[in-house]
């Protein structure tokens, strides 16, 4: 069949965005280098494969115990040329750091150095088994140990758990250690205090660990209300979870005071370290009274976000919590490295258990260590300084036209926060965000933190040039002016992306989560 494209929508519709008279409409729905791509199930075949494996010898017996598959799986295959093209075309419908400015607040979208990728692919790292005899993987254990040393030194904390798979997993690791410590002391306690401005994973984590979550009020300047917090502390409070620098982009001035108060009340201080990039190499959380903090290697230490993951969320611990850290971990003895697991945990029976099958995200460890060695103590300090400088530069370049709720609360850290308070018509943050898409930028984080109306959280990171930031500012000002003026055309944005605005309500109302053969 000569179907010009199988991607399920009528080419005719393409006419909508190309003026017919001008002849710019296309029959394929493609627009030169902006190419439509069907689903593999629409172009693949059951009998097609992109690998050359031996034909199955039907006559050969098997030892599958009578459970051999009788029915078709329902998969389709593509040859290599089709496969490479399919994913290349799909990739071109994506925005990434490699394409342009990606100021997604709280996500630290910094450049991913290619040396990291190269090192992670060395067979000595990529092609080793997690259960291989430890004598055969000394280099891998040493990588974990070296990275642990960097993390402890950078945070000024005595211990670190390397196995958590991402930030949220790290939070869980930290809260579980806290719960284990309280339990060991006779009472797990009931409540974890979390600021309203916290990332969703914080309350979700506390709840998963069996705690009741209570809000910590914030001051008008965007920081934790110390007095209110102190007032709430008591024997039922197991811990406070505070993000510092916080999600409004501000440094929690009184963190030390808060920590002392929490400790005095017998609680622990969990610090969400997602924003560590603002202070890495310049401030050590250990000096602020932190008991546990996760570090997103996929943020501060440049391992790629990969369209949603994988990440890695090691957790540093204070003396008080160290004994409760999860298994396994690596120890060095006279140049020999070995894993402490259930069996040889020895008197360290206080470990709260195991968070994952193996030793954590080795592929991220090699990348992060490569990054740290490249930057060194001096480079990392510069990272924090440039990240903060870029954010302040943006804040001060936009505050005159855009509502900046905490502009008066002192310098921001690595991200600048704005709100849509003054927008005209019924325009809101998302309209400005979509307008920025047309301008060639990835929008900032929107509607987070919840404490600001139509929040826009802009995190430039240190790997942007001034020219790039200046271009962003110019475009941002232009789109903002349109938003303030209530320019309705923004509601139709984006105009130039592979898709116009997508109907998320319809998607949720009647979820289509897998492909169904229309023929069936």
């Amino acid at each position: 069949m000569n179907a010009p494209n199988k991607s399920g929508w009528k080419p005719a519709m393409e006419l909508a965005d190309g003026d017919v008279a001008s002849g710019s409409a296309t029959t394929t729905g493609n627009r030169a280098l902006m190419l439509e791509e069907p689903l593999i199930f629409e172009i693949g075949h059951v009998a097609t494969t992109g690998v050359d494996l031996p034909e199955i010898d039907a006559s050969a017996g098997n030892r599958l115990g009578g459970f051999e598959r009788s029915e078709a799986i329902g998969l389709v295959g593509l040859t290599e040329p089709e496969t490479v093209r399919h994913y290349t075309r799909l990739s071109r419908q994506n925005y990434g750091i490699d394409l342009g400015f990606f100021p997604l607040g709280s996500c630290t979208m910094k450049h991913n150095p290619r040396l990291n990728e190269k090192m992670a692919r060395l067979p000595g790292f990529a092609d080793i088994h997690p259960l291989a005899p430890q004598s055969s993987v000394q280099g891998a254990l040493e990588v974990i140990d070296q990275l642990a040393t960097w993390l402890k030194t950078l945070t000024g904390m005595p211990a670190v758990a390397m196995s958590p798979k991402a930030g949220a997993h790290g939070e869980l690791c930290g809260i579980l250690a806290i719960r284990a410590a309280h339990t060991a002391a006779g009472n797990p306690r009931e409540v974890v205090l979390v600021p309203e401005s916290a990332h969703g994973t914080n309350p979700a984590t506390a709840a998963f660990a069996g705690y009741k979550v209570e809000d910590i009020p914030a001051t008008s300047e965007g920081r934790v209300d110390v007095e209110a917090l102190k007032a709430r502390l008591g024997p039922d409070v197991a811990a406070v979870m505070i993000t510092n620098p916080n999600t409004c982009g501000l440094f929690e001035k009184d963190f030390r005071t808060i920590a002392d108060a929490v400790h005095a009340a017998g609680g622990y201080v969990y610090c969400d370290g997602a924003n560590f990039n603002a202070i890495v190499g310049r401030v050590r959380p250990g000096d602020l009274g932190v008991d546990a903090m996760h570090i997103n290697l996929h943020k501060t230490f440049s391992t790629p976000h990969g369209g949603g993951g994988p990440g890695s969320g090691p957790v540093v611990f204070s003396e008080a919590l160290a004994p409760f850290a999860p298994l396994p971990y690596v120890v060095e003895e006279s140049g020999e490295y070995h894993l402490v697991e259930e069996e040889n945990a020895g008197d360290d029976v206080s470990s709260f258990g195991r968070m994952t099958a193996f030793h954590g995200q080795m592929g991220m460890f090699t990348r992060a260590l490569t990054y740290m060695l490249s930057h060194g103590a001096d480079g990392l300090k510069q990272v924090a300084e440039d990240a903060v400088l870029n954010a302040n530069y943006i804040l001060r370049s936009l505050e005159d036209i855009l509502h900046a709720p905490f502009a008066e609360s002192g310098p921001c850290m690595h991200e600048a926060l704005f709100g849509d308070k003054d927008f005209g018509g019924d325009l809101s943050t998302s309209d400005l965000a979509k307008g920025l898409i047309d301008e060639g930028f990835h929008p900032m984080t929107v509607y987070f933190p919840l404490v600001v109306h139509g929040a826009m959280l802009v995190e430039p990171t240190e790997t942007e040039s001034k020219a790039s930031i200046d271009q962003f500012i110019t475009a941002f000002r232009n789109v903002t002016e349109r938003a303030l003026a209530g320019d309705e055309s923004l509601k139709q944005a984006p105009y130039h992306a592979p898709r116009r605005r997508l109907d998320e309500t319809a998607a949720a109302r009647k979820p289509k989560l897998v492909w169904q053969d229309p023929a069936e």
Binding site: G50, R69, Y95, Q138, P310, A433
Partner: protein, 457 residues
């Protein structure tokens, strides 16, 4: 620094714009106590690519790469050939350096890929719906138990003794805090899995039964029996699969009645990587359970012009919307590993996956026969896919594995390593064979085993 674009003039101009005289002015809110005077001590200064590369290569050289020696390890992490084009795909900057697709108009690449991935996983598992990935098989297993307790409003989980012990430990670790009750045990060394023993432990308070398929000893259980027993008591059957390639040869768990199917997807596209990042697969047989699922879901919709497009959907289950009421706290998942998996699966297709499975099984049968005739070595399994258990006379299997390594053979995983202290398992060796295993590798292992097993303990 090669990664920092700001020039000193840029910095001056920008500081001026911020009304700051020096960078320190921007850190005034940091309390005195925490201000460092200079670069943190005890750490090296920045280094060029050459120096860093030498450092990392030296570390890598201290490891025995699986590809350089006869290799027979499995037990939840499998070594398969990854087509070269998979790395081409995951190295595309637009995939590698993208974030979670929260702006769907410029993330259709990631979104369509996830939709294809979800479909492949659902079909492979014999389920209705799969999510967009979790961290790995072990955390997926725990999320499944947590979901089962939500669905059934019961707190007791019955774990098969033949569930990967590390998976069981993860489940128990979480349960101690959620107050769930976990019943588990070590596997009995016998040809057939003890399903009656397992089903007998299911009662009215049981939220779920967790069975690995194929199990930790490489055996293949009749899930339908367990499903029946579980359903009879109103419990859910959670099937755990650590080797997706096996499902190219054996029935899918969904087909056999499993309600939640979870597993490790590392076998396809991802590689060994010393245990991570891996790929947690999660699927449910009954669509009605979708709203209780953890993790992200990608769904089909249309754009303002009526064109088909994809978005993340049902987010009201997730932490960023539902916060403490979320079905899970997961945010970052294993997106790029999912891409590697789906690209590899697309290259295989139905035909290639079945051929791959057949080739794994063929070589495994050959290896089992060859090794079973080594004096002092016997084969436990009646049935298996590409992994089986050998019983070794003489020394504990664990010592033998170490000695094999000294002879440059990675001969398998000793159950002693997985179940420290469990005497009954001390002499069991788990051997895995894949399409990458050669006849020579098998001969070498047989020869070395013969030498070592004979040696008096």
């Amino acid at each position: 620094m090669r990664y920092l674009p700001l020039t000193d003039t840029d910095r001056e101009d920008m500081l001026a714009k911020c009304g700051a005289s020096s960078i320190d002015d921007l850190f005034v809110d940091v309390p005195e106590v925490a201000r460092l005077d200079g670069p943190i001590r005890d750490l090296p200064m920045h280094a060029g690519e050459m120096a860093v590369e030498r450092h990392m290569k030296a570390l890598a050289a201290k490891n025995m790469a699986a590809g350089d020696v006869p290799f027979f390890l499995g037990a939840g992490a499998y070594r398969h050939h990854i087509p070269a084009s998979v790395d081409t795909v995951i190295s595309r900057g637009e995939f590698l350096t993208a974030y979670t697709p929260y702006q769907p108009e410029i993330a259709q690449g990631t979104l369509q890929m996830l939709f294809e991935f979800q479909t492949q996983v659902a079909r492979l598992y014999g389920c209705a719906v799969a999510n967009a990935s979790l961290y790995d098989g072990s955390t997926a297993c725990w999320e499944a138990v947590a979901m089962a307790t939500r669905v059934t409003k019961r707190k007791r989980a019955v774990l098969s003794g033949a569930l990967h012990p590390h998976y069981a430990q993860v489940v128990k670790t979480m349960a101690q805090f959620t107050g769930d009750e976990i019943a588990d045990s070590a596997p009995a060394i016998q040809t057939e899995p003890d399903l009656d023993g397992l089903t007998s432990r299911i009662d009215e308070n049981t939220a779920c039964v967790v069975v690995q398929y194929p199990d930790i000893l490489g055996r293949i259980s009749d899930l339908s029996k367990v499903a029946e027993a579980a359903h009879a008591k109103g419990a859910l059957l959670i099937a755990v699969n650590t080797e997706p390639v096996a499902l190219g040869a054996i029935k899918s768990p969904g087909e056999m009645g499993a309600d939640i199917v979870v597993g490790e997807g590392q076998s396809l596209g991802v590689g060994l990587q010393f245990g991570g990042p891996y790929l947690g697969l999660f699927a449910v047989r009954d669509p009605k359970h979708v709203r209780q699922m953890p993790g992200r879901l990608c769904g089909e919709t249309t754009d303002a012009e009526g064109k088909r497009g994809f978005v993340l959907t049902l987010s009201t289950r997730e932490q960023h919307i539902r916060r403490e009421k979320a079905t899970s706290n997961i945010c970052t998942n294993s997106g790029l590993c999912a891409l590697a998996f789906t690209a590899h699966m697309t290259l295989l297709g139905e035909k290639g996956l079945r051929q791959l499975a057949a080739e794994n099984h063929r070589l495994a049968c050959h290896a089992a026969d060859r090794l079973a005739v080594v004096p002092g070595v016997s084969l436990l399994n009646e049935a298996f896919f590409n992994e089986f258990t050998l019983m070794l006379e003489g020394k504990p299997a664990r010592d033998i594995v170490r000695e094999l390594a000294d002879r440059d053979v990675l001969g398998g995983v000793s159950l002693g390593r997985l179940y420290p202290g469990v005497k009954a398992l001390e002499h069991a060796l788990l051997v895995t064979v894949t399409e990458l295993t050669t006849e020579d590798d098998i001969e070498t292992l047989a020869r070395e085993l013969e030498a070592l097993v004979k040696e008096p303990a």
